[in-house]
Structure formats: structure tokens, C-alpha cells
Amino acid sequence: MQATLTRRSFVKAMAAVGAATAVSTSYSSALSTTDKAWAATDSERTMYVSCCHGCIQVCPCKVYVENGVVVKIEGHPDGPTSQGSLCLKGLNQIHTCYSPRRVLYPLKRTGERGVKDAKWERISWDEAVELAASKIFEAIKKEGTYSFMVSVGGGGSYSFMQAMTLPMALGSPTVFEPGCAQCYLPRNAAAAYMYAGADQSIADCAVLEPFKGLAPKEIAKGVKPDTKVLVLWAAQPSVSQTAQSGRGMAELRAIGCKTIVVDPNFSPDAVKATIHLPVRPGSDAALILSWYRVILDEELYDKDFCRFFTNIPFLINPDTKLPWTAAEVFDGHVDPDPSTPAYVCYDQISKSVQPLPYGDPAVLKTQIDPAVVYEVEVKGKVSRTAGKVYRDEADPWTLEKTEEFCWVPADRIREAIDLYAKAEVAGIANGVASDMEETASQVPFGLMGLDMIMGYVNKPGATLTQNTPAAPGGPRPTHNWNGFSGMFGMIFGIGYQTGATPEQNEARIAAIPDEWDPSSPVPPFMTKTWLYALNQLMIDRLGMKNHKGLYEWCHSHIPTVREAIETGEPFHPRVWFDMSGNKFAMLGSAGAWYNAIMNGGVDFIICQYPMMTSFQIECADLMFPMEEWLEATGATEFGQLNYSFPCPGVIHLGETVPNTVPPQRVCNATAALLNDYIEQGNKVVFGFEGAKVGVASRNNGSYYHGNTIDTSKLRFPLGMGVMGGANSEKESWTAHIEKFKAFPNLAPKLEGVTDREGMLKAMANDPDFYGVTPPDMYWIYDQHLVPAADGLPTGFATESRKCEVYVQLAIKMGRTGFPYCYPIPQEAVDPSVATFDGDYSPICNVPKQKEVPASLSDPEGFAEDPSDEFPLALTSGRVYYFHHGTMRHAPFAREIYPVPDVRINPETAAKYGIAHGDWVEISSRRTQGEPYDPVTRQGTKTAEPIRGRAYVAEVVAPNVVWMERFWNPECFDNSVPAEKRTGGWQECNVNVITNAVDCRFNEVFGSYTNRGFAVNIKKSTKPDLVWTEPKEFAPFMPNNENQYTPADAGVAINNAALLTPIVEFNDPPTTMTGGF
């Protein structure tokens, strides 16, 4: 039964406040067959607590449900940072959940790929899983395990661990997400390399300290804010995490915290900043070096911390580029504990080169005074301190020279340095911009290092703080380098353990059994054979030869994956399982990706997402329906400061499932096919059939696999199988309930609660519904000073036990893959890629920049091939309305921000004859020249120029343009005739013109260039299919139509068939087989 309800009356009904009469009677009749939890509510309004997943952060909220329909969402006042705020991304989730663009049932493509022929058939879950498994099985059977690949989306998306472990479970090394090297990995990894602690990302919930003690209820507990100066370097919390960090910033500024904002754009946080440094896009590294120059010359750094808790005074061997150790320099020197070696410094008391032992600064400083910036002969070689290496690198960057290069007034830079360096305590929060540029390693190395030399570490008010206590009398800290800093045990391999000796590391390997052994002290899935296979997967992962920093998150290098699809070299991914949204909007050089896929590069594409986006409408062959957050339980594990909020799904539509379900089920179904096949005596290639062994691909690929792994004993899924999650909705709920039972205050309330309904009810009207870590267990400082078992301060889990401002690990990594590629080393980085005389740079430096705007004055030649054809520097940044590629289908967002603004300074706009509100065409090298040929690598053009609408104001400097990512789902709306439809990714999508083809990849992480490259603009017209007028967005309002499900299936909100209980599967969950 499907009652009719106009869009207008539906919206009215949804929003009818306390007026039961306004609720259409069709609701109650429609609900007659839904599950009792909702039917029992009649037309009353029930409030549930949950959390918004509209961005990467998590704002608790109240969700009001009437007759099984979410009618209102508001922020929950108990969030210690959000304090009741909820931004429009959260509010608009009602329109996301009930969007006519939802995919609510498994769908199989019936026509050809491409938007114009897009036709879908609803199939059963069993059919869908079987289809996916059979395609993967066929590809692996034919060409080997490397023929399968997986991709996923960045923060706030719907899957992560599943994407990481699914390819591994099926023996493939290939997985990527468009973020990773372009978003957060470099900053996250830099913190791991430099002090094995929390990083400087404010968007990713690493920087929490500034938001401490802002909420009245925290103040009542005696918790006080301490941050006096906060540097937002290329971060805009007010936009990216509007109701959480954005709210926190508003509170912080209100109590007098000074802020320095480094951003080419006059972002909301720049508007409110004490000092705004509108740096030229792509030039941040030079600006950082100007800070080092002043701070080192004027000795503004924290002398004790710098001398005794950083490696800045270490003398560096000019041949190895590594710090001299005392054992190398002084005959007979023996370290009392080889895991804490003494290094070498120039002592200003004895005026000689001396061992610099690790120890308590209070004691050491009475005995030795290590020089910070110094040069002296060691064993006949002129050796500089790490501080001197930094000072030399910074030498060109006087304030005046920096002004020329970075386009920021010298006096303003000086003012910022003084505010930061002369503060009682300060901290840097580093945003995403550098991850999207050539300097993806240099900038975080530089910014982490600044906070370190300033001693802004583990101090109240500093950003580099840890929220975990040190263990008094504990061991010398160690760090595991097996992916995600060892967060997930050994699932990605064993990795080296820094802080332990080589002998101790060898012993770790010796402890691994040859065969699967449940009694083994290491996880039972870990065998020597599997360890070897995991190590091989790492080495064979696409693009790792040159960009070994990607090992930190176990991801492939994206442009190299695309090249493998284009050319089949070094091996050919044939079947692709994607677990996120619009790849064409999020991947750089989107046109090259589109061509690679449409030219037959991928045999079969499996997608899972709650929504149909450009990528799925163009390319998906099979689509699994995913829950939106109003349906999804515990989809994210982040809390807010020391609070942990439940995130239960409150409603359910169609046959959607948690994000964990399809990877689990497809993996198990594929494994069953493979195991049968092997048991019948067939061979499965662990690797890729016919690939040339030991041949590196042209760009970054390496493939050293000898296909020597004996697959006759191999049983899938390998290793731990697909991790991170539930095989069914029920499991997902059980896990969520168990998680919150661990909090003492919640355990009694959840006693006996086993299901969805129980938890929702238990939590709904209870003021004490969240878990909280007591403030004194969370706001903790000076962990590095706590005495360890050896009587020394605990220190940090680095080789030197200190903060390694000079990233000595990066030097070693480039040469052998250390500490990730262990025990089997990897070949060295191509010296032409590495900017530190053939090695990864251990410090911030300014590499040559490709595609810089011709408007840059650059007598020193930092710019590579400046082109008059592209005189403007383009940068990007989020807008409030969307997170990543989400919500372009949300009508209340699109009517306010229908198309991307192209921010242009009036002076520049005048030069091009462009007025505010004009449509503008933007071109780059990706839209110019001969077509890009992936085989010959000739040509540059991968797509047509894009368009956006001019926002002419003094918001950016002359010669800078700013434009955020976009895509236009209206271009394939059913209201558009089929033959005219487009995928909506070519019109206004800045990623069409970004460079993931022939840019200078960041040396360590392989980051490609999304920002800071050169473009041109000209006046243009509106793309035909793009909507700009508010009323045009009416088809995106919740209504009785669903664009992708046949009419008989029933869709939309007032349809009883759609309001469903959870999807359940009858088969039992599979158990771990042991892999090898």
C-alpha cells in the first residue's frame, strides 16, 4: 500500500511541532506492518540520543521520531565541546536519510556502464553476495590474488578497517582512499616518526587540549582551559567541524586565547584571528623556515627541552646523514642500555665533542651544555648539529625574502613569531593543505619540530599532549611499526619495534611459530609463512618503492594504482570493491580515472554506499545498500574529549546494512569458492600470473614477487580475515552495547539489554547516558618525565628516546623501508625523487615546486617550469555545507550553496573582466594540450575545463583563486532526459584540474597536488544541467519517488514496506580458519 503525499505536505508533516493533527493519517496506516517498537509509539514523539556522523567529528544529538519517522534533530547539550550545537551538516541528515537518491536494496546494473545507459535491477542479498564473490573468484583464479583491489573514503565515511583487511584476507596488496596521503596520513605519520605521540590535526580529533574546560559542567568540576596561543596552520575548524571544533574555537576566543591563522583564504577562523598570515598556496615550507630562522637566531626556543629532550643538539655524520652515536665516536664507549644509546654533541662547558647521554635534564644540565646550532669536526669530518642543519636550510628565508615568496608582509610574520614563541604556552594545529601539496612531509616535520623546540610538549595548553597516563616504573617506551603504529597488533605484519634492540627484535620473530598454533604467545594467525606473505604484500604494494611513508597506513599510491589499471603494469587490478562515495569528486585528475575505467581497465566494480553518486551511476556494476547514520549503529568510535557517546541507529529503511556486512559476507563467500578450488587440487597464484618479477613500473610501482608462496596449503580468508566489524546488524548492536557496558555508570543501566530496542530505550531519557573518563585520568601532562624502571625519565618511544626534530627515521626509511619493511628490507627510493641529496629530507625544506603561477617572483629558481598560460595559484578548502563528497543531494544545503564559489580578488577579477556572480571557466594543464596517453605518457589533457561562480572580494590575494570540491547530482536526475544526462562530475569539480598524473609527488608519502598549482580563468556561462535556483532542488526533497528502485519495490518515507526492521541473515558467522 502506498499512500500519496506531496513533497510539501510531507515536509510539513515532518516538521509539525507538537501538533499531532498535522501528521497525515497516511502515516499511521502505512505503519501498520512495521515493527512494534515504532508502531507502539502511535503519533507520539519519542526522543532518542545518538551522534551525528555528518563529518569526522562526533556531536551528540537528540533525534525525535514520530511514527517511525525522524522529524527533528538537535544538538545534545552534554557534548563537552559542541555543548548543544549542531551544524547544518547534522541538521540536513534528515534529507540525506530520506533522500530519493538513497540506495535501499542491492542493485545490479543491467545496461552498459555510463550514466546514459544506467539501468538497475533489484536483486536479493544472497544474489548480490554471490555475484560479487564469483567475480572476485574468477579474477583470482585466472590471474592471481593481486587482481583484486579495494578502495574506501576518508574520515567520516562508512568503512575503514574492512577496506584495509578485505584485500589482505584475499591475498591482495591493493587498497587506497582518496584522503590518506592527501589527508592526514602525513601529519599522523610525522608525529609517529618524531615522538610517537598525538599529532597536530585538529580536524581528526588529535588536538583536544585547547578545548579542555570550556563547558560549564567541566568548569564546575574544576577543569580549566590553558591554551594561551593557538596557531591554526591551514586549518579552519569553524568550517570543517562547525559545531564541535568550530564551537570550541568560538569559546576559546571568547575567553581571550590569541590565534594565528595561516591560510590563503580569509576563512572564518582567519576573520576572527589575532594575526592572519595569508600565505601563497604551496609556499608554507618557506614560511615555516622563516620562523626557525628567527627562533634559532634569537634563541627563543626552550633551552632545557631543546637540549635534553630533542635531537636538535646531535651532531650529524655528513656521510650517513644520521646522528653520530657515542659508540661510533668514542673508543670503548658502552651504553649501559643499548636500547637507549648516547649520541654526540658539542659541549659548551668543556668546549669539546662529548657523548650526550639520555637522562634527566635537571641532572644533565649541571654537567653538560650541548650546543644547539654548531659545527665541529668529528672523526675528521665536519659535522653540524641537527640545529645547524636546520639553521642552514632556513638561511635564505629572511623575513623580507619570505614576504616575496609567500606574499605575506614581513612585519606580520614577525608579529606572529613573537606571539607564538614568546607565549607562556602555545601550540600549532596543522590542517590538511600541505597533505595536498609537494611539501606533505616537509610541512608537518617543520611544524611538529617548532612545537618541540619551543618545549610545547606534554604541557597544559600545548597541542602536543597525550591523554593517557605514563606508567611509573615502566619499561623504556617502544613503538611498533606494523601499520597504524601497531594499533591493530600484528595484523599488517610484524614491523620493527623502535626502542628495542636489534636482538630483541630478532627474538620477536623467533617467537613466531612456523605453523598455526592457538597456544602461541603471539596471535595464532601469525605464522612465519604469513609473516613472509605480509612482508611481500607490503613490498609489492603499488607505489611503495618511492613513497614508503604510505606504509604507516598500509595504503597503495593512488596514481600508481591508476597506472596499473591503465597499463596492466606491474600487475592488473581487475575487480574493484569500493566502499565509499564519489571517487570522481575526490580523486585528483578525475578525468584520467574516468578514462582508465571506461576504457575497459576494470572488469567489475562492486560498490557500497547509502547514495548514488557520479561514481556509482557511471561505473558500479553492483551496489550494496548502506545505512545512513540515522540507521547505523556505532559507525564511528570517536568521542568528544573525555566523553564517549553512544551512536545507536534510531530507524531503519529498506534492506540497508551496516558498512561492515558486505565486506564480511563477500570475503567469506569468495573464500569458500577459493578453498573448494584449492582442495580440488588447483593452484591459486599468490601474486599476479605473468607479471615480470623484479621489474619496477615506470613511475613508482615495484613488483618483486617471485610467486614462491606455496598456495596448496593456503586457506582463505588469510590472516584475521575481514576485521572491524559485524557480520550482521545484530552483531553490530551487540558490540555497541558491550562497549558501553564497560563504563561503570552505564553497566547497571545496560544490564540485560541485548538488542536495539532495549538500548534505545535505556539511553533515551537518561541524563547520564554517556561514558566519561574522569578528568584527572585524561588531562595528563609531563608523561615523559615520569621515572621509568631504569630510573631515567620515561621519554618518548623513538630511537633516541627524545623528540626527533631531525627526523632520522626518514633517512633510514628511504633507504630500506625501515622500520616498516622488517624483516625483509625494501629497495631504496629513487634518488631523483628524494630532496635531501638522494634521501628523504629529515627536516622542513623547500623543494622545487611544479606548476607554480607565473605571477611568482622567483629569482632563486624554486619554481619549476612556470607557465605564462597559467598565471594564478589555485587553492581549496572546505565550505560549511558539505563534508568531503557528501550532501550535494541535500536541498537545504544546495539552495544556499548551489554551485562552488570561485573566490577571486577584485584586482584579478578586473584584469579578466569578471564580475561577482559571473560564471568562470577554470583550466589547468589537465584540460590543455594533447590527450594524455597512459602508455606513452605523452599528452596532458584528461578532461574539459571546469566552471564555478565568481565570488569577487578581498577574501584572497591577487593572483590566488580558491575553489572547493563539488559535484552535481542533478545532472543525472530522472527529470533530465536520459540522453542528456551526465555523471555530474565534470561540470564544477575542481578535482578535474588537480594533478595526480605528472606532479612532483611528495617524496615520503607520494601525495599528489590538489592545491597550490597554476590555473587560468575566463568568463563563461552556466553548465546546462547544473541547478542554481532554490526551487530547482525540489526533486531532492524527500518524496514518494526513489530514483533507483523499481516502483513496485516501494520507496519513500510513508511507505510501510520501506520502514523495516533490521536486515537479518540466516547463516551463522564464519570463524577464523588460520589462513596459512
Binding site: 510539501r8 515536509v11 510539513k12 515532518m14 516538521a15 509539525a16 511541532v17 507538537g18 537528540k62 527533528k72 538537535e74 544538538g75 547539550p77 555543548q83 548543544g84 550545537s85 549542531l86 551544524c87 547544518l88 541538521l91 540536513n92 534528515i94 569553524s238 568550517v239 562547525t242 559545531a243 568550530g246 564551537r247 568560538a250 569559546e251 576566543r253 571568547a254 580569509f266 572564518p268 577562523d269 576573520v271 592572519h276 595569508p278 605575506v408 608582509p409 606580520r412 560549511y880 536541498p891 537545504f892 544545503a893 539552495e895 544556499i896 580578488n905 572580494a953 578581498e954 577574501v955 584572497v956 590575494a957 591577487p958 535556483e1029 532554490p1030 526551487k1031 532542488f1033 525540489a1034 526533497m1037
Partner: protein, 213 residues
């Protein structure tokens, strides 16, 4: 007479437009109509010496409310209990005189229903509220606030009766130095409508320019 209104702290407002969307959901406003808008005022100056602020604008709850005076049917009226300027849609004939009379352009013509609409201060949930929200029960009628206030991402919005010194709105104004101080402003009033709504803006953030972009 009560002076119920919103007070908006522009030192805090980051222009995120969440108030617009909260309002649209609460009041079921059709596409293209807005009872609340957020204007970017600036940047003024020349890059890099620039400043700006965001100015949310909605019904100013004018003391002299010209909209009420011009309405031929009595559809535009003041709530007898709390003096809030409201529209009785049952009486509205859609003549739109009030739209022309309003000095601030905050009234909207609803094409589907043929009536004029505007911000009601969410009087349907706040009619008896003092604006000091009860965080343990956000539906408490004595303390409820409009969703644009509750959800505001920067806590830049305050609601209440300026005649009641204990209302949230009065306290925000008082904390900013009170009416007449350098930080407390109202929109220009060439027609003598006497807008009640107040804005807080410190000179350190930007000089007050009203709605002048």
C-alpha cells in the same frame, strides 16, 4: 511591553548558515524562502589588511512594526500575551503590503499557500520562555529557545525579552556593556520602525557597518 527578540553576538558568529537550516526544518519553509539570512559584511579594506563580519538578519521585532500598521486584514498582529509580531495565515490575503513596508526585507511570500511568512521567534515553542535554556529538558516551555539559537554552532544567538533583565538576551547585552556601549548595535532605522533586535560586535573584529556590505 515585552521586547522579545534575538540578540546576536557577531564576535562569535562564523557565518555557517546553520541557523537558516534549523529554521527551515522547524518551520517547514519551502525552497527559496528564508526567515533568517546570514549576510557577509565585507571584507572591507585591501588585502591583506581586511576585516569582515557575518550579520544574521530576520524579523527585527520592531517596536513600531510598520508591517502591522499596513496590513489591511489584521493578519499581521502582535501576540496579546507576549507582544511578539506574528502573522495569522488564516487572515492573510497575500497582498504583500507588509513586504513593502518592512524596512529589513525579512518577510517572505509563500507561493504555495499564497500568504506572507516570517520569523516568529518560534513562538509555538517559546511563547512563555525566558530564553535561559534548560539543558536537561530542551522542550521545557518556560525555557525553550528557537532551534536557530539552540543549534547555533558558535553560541552566537540569544533569545528573550529585553525588558526582563534575567532573560538570556538581556544578559548577553549586559555582558557586552549594555545598550549604548561601543559593542552593542542595531540595524539602521531610517523609517523609525525601532528594531528591537540587537547585535554585539567588537571593534577589534570589525567596525560596525550595519548591513552595508
Amino acid at each position: 511591553m515585552a521586547k522579545r527578540c534575538l540578540v546576536i553576538d557577531l564576535d562569535r558568529c562564523s557565518g555557517c548558515d546553520s541557523c537558516i537550516v534549523a529554521c527551515k526544518f522547524e518551520n517547514s519553509i519551502e525552497l527559496g524562502n528564508y526567515w533568517c539570512r546570514v549576510n557577509a559584511i565585507g571584507p572591507t579594506g585591501k588585502h591583506p589588511d581586511i576585516e569582515m563580519y557575518w550579520l544574521p538578519v530576520h524579523c527585527q521585532q520592531c517596536e513600531n512594526s510598520p508591517c502591522v500598521g499596513v496590513c489591511p486584514t489584521g493578519a499581521s498582529y502582535r501576540d496579546t500575551a507576549n507582544n511578539v509580531v506574528l502573522i495569522d495565515k488564516g487572515k492573510c490575503i497575500g497582498c504583500q503590503y507588509c513586504i513593502y513596508a518592512c524596512p529589513y526585507g525579512v518577510r517572505q511570500y509563500n507561493e504555495e499557500e499564497g500568504v506572507v511568512e516570517k520569523c516568529t521567534l518560534c513562538n509555538h515553542i517559546t511563547a512563555t520562555s525566558d530564553g535561559n535554556e534548560n539543558f536537561n529538558d530542551t522542550t521545557d516551555p518556560e525555557h525553550a529557545v528557537p532551534p536557530c539559537v539552540h543549534n547555533c554552532s558558535c553560541r552566537a544567538r540569544y533569545f528573550g525579552d529585553l525588558e526582563d533583565p534575567n532573560s538570556a538576551a538581556s544578559k548577553a547585552v549586559e555582558a557586552a556593556g549594555g545598550i549604548g556601549s561601543a559593542k552593542v548595535h542595531s540595524l539602521g532605522d531610517p523609517s523609525g520602525a525601532k528594531p528591537t533586535t540587537l547585535y554585539i560586535l567588537s571593534p577589534e573584529i570589525a567596525a560596525w557597518k550595519g548591513l552595508q556590505k
